[in-house]
């Protein structure tokens, strides 16, 4: 540690590092490790039994697939929203900009109830789909709708500043070299915003995996079909099966960690190609 300190002109390295470690321990590491310890009371056999239960596996599938689908949707349409907010000026732009943050601020239960009402077969939006025999609320589709609502700000807010940073001159240069609008987007703009888009995607994805409040109202919560893993954890807690609940939580934690690691790896790889 001494040699790190020797090369830095910034004072207080030891203090800052010490504080960071303490803070992270208190806020993140200790709670998470207690998760491990609680799960450990089950033993390997117990852990295996809980986590490979049919119902648990089905709920994990629902959670991760719905989250992934919602994150993909958000990546696409969040990019469009960010594009519009950065590139164009129109009356009420400030208001639209503020609207994007609403999913952050709204209590998730309120969002869930509202969405469930809208997308129910007799709801405002739901009845149009019901005419074509498409059910949204109380199906996995409803889960995707709720998670898309929750995740939108993550993509918009990470892409927006990066997109604003892409200089107009770069696009002009590309145009004067004869590039079509599509070529300009594909070869010049997209590669510049792609790392930010990936970050936004990862954030929306991670947020969706843990989402509980908004989903349970719209999902219908039918086991094996539209039951999400966080709900299963809560129901285990309600039955005072703390070890079982933590076992599922631990499994989710591990899968999420691997996925986020993979996304980070992808980002590292794409950044390496563009050494700054």
């Amino acid at each position: 540690m001494a040699q790190f300190k020797a090369h830095s002109v910034l004072p207080g390295f030891n203090l800052a590092l010490g504080f960071t470690l303490l803070y992270l321990s208190l806020i993140v590491l200790i709670p998470l490790s207690s998760l491990f310890f609680k799960t450990a009371t089950l033993g390997w056999g117990g852990f295996w039994e809980v986590t490979t239960g049919e119902r648990v596996l089905a709920s994990l599938r629902v959670t991760f697939f719905a989250s992934f689908a919602a994150a993909v949707l958000n990546a696409i349409f969040g990019l469009v929203v960010a594009w519009v907010l950065v590139r164009y000026t129109f009356p009420g732009k400030r208001l639209v900009d503020a609207l994007v943050d609403l999913p952050f601020a709204l209590p998730t239960a309120v969002a869930g109830i509202t969405l469930a009402m809208l997308y129910a077969p007799n709801g405002w939006i739901g009845h149009y789909f019901a005419e074509h025999d498409i059910k949204i609320a109380y199906t996995p589709l409803g889960i995707v709708v709720a998670l898309t609502f929750i995740g939108l700000p993550f993509v918009v807010r990470t892409v927006q500043p990066v997109l604003a940073d892409v200089e107009a001159e770069i696009e002009e240069a590309a145009a004067s070299l004869g590039a079509s609008r599509w070529d300009v987007f594909r070869r010049v703009i997209f590669p510049s915003i792609y790392p930010a888009l990936l970050t936004g995607f990862a954030l929306a994805f991670a947020r969706s995996i843990g989402e509980y409040g908004s989903v349970i109202f719209i999902a219908g919560n039918m086991p094996f079909i539209s039951e999400i893993a966080p709900l299963l954890i809560v129901s285990k807690l309600e039955q005072y099966d703390y070890a079982g609940a933590t076992a599922i939580a631990l499994l989710m934690l591990i899968i999420s960690f691997i996925l986020l690691l993979a996304i980070n790896g992808l980002q590292w790889w794409s950044n390496r190609r563009e050494i700054r």
Binding site: E167, E169, I170, E172, A173, A174, A175, S176, L177, G178, A179, S180, D183, R187, V188, P191, S192, R273, E274, I275, R276
Partner: protein, 337 residues
């Protein structure tokens, strides 16, 4: 390819950026648009390149109206002050960009693209940097890459917007000589924008001096420096001393309101009064390289005059701060006020 500009106007809201510009750029010449910031020179360049649209007036390339051709169809190479290189692409890919986005029928095969890019990189003497990324290069190198990129599509016209504005003095001087040599090799019609008079006078075949959206003077560098057409050009190009007819009627030789313009190096000094000379008191003596710059005050009100002498001339008549000397103009230009 020649460029003809007729009655060109451009407004940004209430601000007139270009006021009825008429200009002819000859085929194969290197033309400088010179003026202070906000004079409209960059707007003019961008309109020629199709990056901006005029409010009225016409532009012809080789006699053909280009109104309905946007930037991608004008076959114009554009070089920006801040390089505008694609950061996520290697130097090679940056230069190859224009070749890769050509419509399928016109696109070259990969080996031909490779050959062309390396040829261009050799032309700008940076072949050894092909695999680097723009952020790994110095400013001067980046601008040369930007130039190679612009030349890749074999433009009929090359437009450069303050190409050396972001570089330090030494690199700037090197690059503008290099640009001059390159132009002598390629003979592509080029227009470049600058606010640096030295740069314009050194590099260009002809100089267009602009002010507040108007063309003040068009001429060879020599012409513009030696025979300024207006007080603005006189003041913008080189240092100048002003003598008003009310106080120095002797020099302006006019009855009405007039101002005499005298360059610092066109003033001679002597220790004794001569015909039509002015007494001044030396306030400052500064030797800068091969010249000695004097600052002197006229009479009681202390109006300052700048005088520039060669070192030899100064050694013949050495003066010190506080001395009274007599000045006389060798060359003078009078404009009515």
């Amino acid at each position: 390819m020649s460029i003809t500009i007729q009655n060109l106007n451009k407004q940004f809201g209430n601000f007139t950026a270009l006021n009825n510009i008429n200009l002819e750029v000859n085929s194969g010449e290197l033309l400088a648009l010179l003026g202070p910031s906000g004079c409209g020179k960059t707007s003019l360049l961008r309109i020629i390149g199709g990056l901006d649209v005029q409010n009225s007036g016409k532009i012809f390339f080789h006699g053909k109206d280009v109104e309905h051709r946007d930037a991608r169809e004008r076959n114009v190479g554009f070089v920006f002050q801040h390089y505008a290189l694609f950061r996520h692409m290697t130097v090679f890919e940056n230069v190859a960009f224009g070749l890769r986005v050509k419509p399928k029928k016109e696109r070259h095969i990969e080996t031909e693209i490779k050959r062309r890019v390396h040829e261009l990189l050799q032309l700008v003497q940076l072949d050894w940097l092909a695999d680097r990324y723009p952020t790994q290069l110095s400013g001067g190198q980046r601008q040369r890459i930007a130039l190679a990129r612009a030349l890749a599509v074999e433009p009929q016209i090359l437009l450069l917007d303050e190409p050396f504005g972001a570089l330090d003095t030494k690199v700037r001087k090197e690059l503008r000589r290099w640009l001059r040599r390159l132009h002598d090799e390629l003979h592509v019609t080029s227009v470049f924008v600058t606010h640096d008079q030295e740069e314009a006078l050194e590099v260009a075949d002809r100089v267009v001096v602009m002010n507040k959206g108007n063309v003040e003077q068009v001429g060879s560098p020599d012409d513009v420096y030696a025979h300024p057409a207006s007080p603005f050009v006189y003041q913008f190009i080189g240092n100048v001393n002003l003598f008003h007819s009310r106080t120095h009627a002797l020099w302006t030789q006019q009855q009405g309101d007039a101002v005499a313009y005298v360059r610092p190096h066109d003033i001679d000094i002597s220790l004794i009064p001569q015909q039509s000379s002015l007494p001044v008191v030396v306030k400052q003596v500064r030797a800068i390289g091969s010249v000695v710059r004097l600052e002197a005050a006229i009479g009681q009100d202390g109006e300052t005059v700048e005088i520039e002498l060669s070192r030899e001339r100064f050694n013949i008549t050495p003066v010190a701060v506080g001395d009274e000397v007599f000045i006389r103009p060798r060359q003078i230009k009078v404009f009515e006020a």
